[in-house]
Amino acid sequence: MWAYTSKRLFLMLPTLLVVATVIFFLLRVVPGDIVELKLLGDGGMVSQATIDQERARLGLDQPLLVQYFNWMVGLVTFDFGTSMWTGRAVSEEIAGRLMLSIELAILASIVGLALGIVLGTLSALLRNTWVDHLIRLLTLGGMALPSFWIGMLIILFLLYIFDWLPPMTYTPFFTDPWANLSQLIWPALAVGYRYAAVVARLVRSSIMEVMNEDYIRTARAKGVYERLIIVRHAMRNALLPVVTLSGLEFAFLIGGLVVTEQVFNLNGIGKLFIDAIDNSDYVLIQSVVMLMAFIFIVVNLIVDLLYAALDPRIRY
């Protein structure tokens, strides 16, 4: 297991290297210069000297390979350069917002997994009853409705029913967990709904499959309580595919967060990314994209390792 883990960690490096290279060159294939695009974009009159100065400030006057080298060195030393728009260090811009977005991602995953597993199991055990039909309708809705719209509905609901809106300013969880959760649980619900729907569908079909296995019949023949059969025999096996799914769904989760942060006015990575794109701030864009790719790769690595740890049949 340890050999496998270290091998996978080691294999991550070339992937990250290629991803960083792709991002770097992708953002430089645009016709025209980024600085010209930014300064002359709206037909503004800017002198060549100003353009040259800006170019020098961003290091764009250097040869492409030198820029590439600097980007790579920057990645290793966590120095991603300075934002073209605000002039602050990119690492600073990201650090101030990362906590919120990561917390939101974790909350949304918890909401999605908990709801999805409970609803999926209920749906499978009460197959073809009204409960099952209702849950399946809910899950189909979760896959069809955009998370940002769900977010807007949640705000309307809170406003009309409780005459209350979640707080606008972010409080770190460890300062005041209650204030923190009362702000973040709503966007987490909005994003987690799709997650829950996908998980519930998978859990339903995999529990139905597992319930036909011989060892379930054996357990029943031994006289094991039905509840114990479900929790200890069926669910433990049925939940394995959920682990794989959660890695794949993570991309949707990030996407949902980027859009839903807008609805709830949350100043997270999603907002930073959208602002960066609005301002054509390429230094910031490449860093945020790199960060998201990095998180995606790490999450999928964790998922793979978790899978191996949970399923004794898999040994690397």
Partner: protein, 309 residues
């Protein structure tokens, strides 16, 4: 992985897409009728999709108002007889905008899903056919693209290409939605085309001296057509959702065009007092995506021989 045994669903689809063999005495019921009979939920999906297409195609005759007509005397009006879904912050009729928004959603969704799936299917089939080093390189590139979440990739593409239009079509937005679809389709199509590659008739085609292109297009592609159809349907749903999200963020279709995502983002300052501004576009997105998902699920059940009753 669809075995192409005679009479399997793959052949049924492939046959329905290829010219009919001559001399068939009694014509079997057309495939879509059999599909509707076998899959009631899929039939519902198909009916909803068909209705949407008709309604959207007739938008200019059904819509009571010009979707872009600003009326400052009638701003933010609740639904009434004159405006059945109310008016927005600029006095535009929500119902008319919804109909025209449907045109954008369906055209952008279908075109981008079609582009992404077709390109992905071709690359996937070719990759499996050539195998060896080519296959290896294609897969590595594919894995790299898959590292970027779809919407993030789409946003970067829009910011790189700008929001240019070609002949009234938002080509760059379509590309931005189509490109993230490609690697997902490549992965699925490749794995099922790999099993085809080993079949004797491909060897026979090669021995007959057919060109690579001909073998890929005429001999392999028809046999992955079933999976292609499923992927296409499901990805239309995803593409419509993605277009709504991009437009909502201001990175997709731009004003004054009416799209569901734009209607939602335009309402973000006002919907707390005027909920009709968001209720109807959200339901429109939901129903459309729901119908395509339903259709995709039913197609999968119907075309996958392992699940057949």
């Amino acid at each position: 992985m669809l075995p192409s045994t005679p009479g399997s669903a793959t052949d049924a689809v492939a046959a329905s897409l290829l010219p009919k063999a001559a001399g068939v005495e009694r014509r079997p019921r057309p495939a879509w009728l059999r599909f509707m009979a076998d899959e009631p939920l899929g039939a519902v999906g198909l009916l909803v999709v068909a209705t949407l297409v008709v309604v959207v195609a007739l938008a200019r005759f059904i819509a009571p108002y010009d979707p872009l007509e600003v009326d400052f005397m009638a701003m933010l009006q609740a639904p009434s007889a004159a405006h059945i879904m109310g008016t927005d912050q600029m006095g535009r009729d929500v119902f008319s905008r919804l109909l025209y928004g449907g045109t954008t959603a369906l055209s952008v969704g279908v075109i981008s899903a079609f582009l992404g799936c077709t390109l992905g299917a071709l690359i996937g089939t070719a990759s499996a056919y050539f195998g060896g080093k080519i296959d290896l390189y294609v897969q590595r590139v594919n894995d790299i693209v898959l590292v970027f979440p779809g919407i993030v990739l789409a946003m970067v593409i829009v910011s790189l290409l700008g929001r240019g239009q070609v002949m009234g079509l938002d080509l760059n937005v379509i590309l931005a939605i189509a490109i993230p679809i490609v690697p997902q389709v490549v992965r699925v199509i490749r794995s099922s085309a790999l099993t085809l590659r080993e079949l004797p008739y491909i060897d026979a085609a090669r021995a007959a001296g057919f060109s690579h292109l001909r073998i890929i297009c005429r001999h392999m592609a028809p046999n992955v057509m079933a999976i292609y159809l499923i992927l296409l349907t499901v990805n239309i749903a995803q593409a419509i959702l993605l277009e709504a999200s991009l437009s909502f963020l201001g990175l997709g279709i731009t004003e004054p065009k009416a799209t569901w995502g734009l209607m939602l983002s335009g309402a973000s300052q006002y919907y707390r007092d005027a909920p009709w501004l968001i209720i109807f576009p959200g339901i429109a997105i939901g129903v459309t995506v729901f119908a395509f998902n339903l259709l995709g699920d039913a197609l999968r059940d119907w075309l996958d021989p392992r699940l057949r009753r």
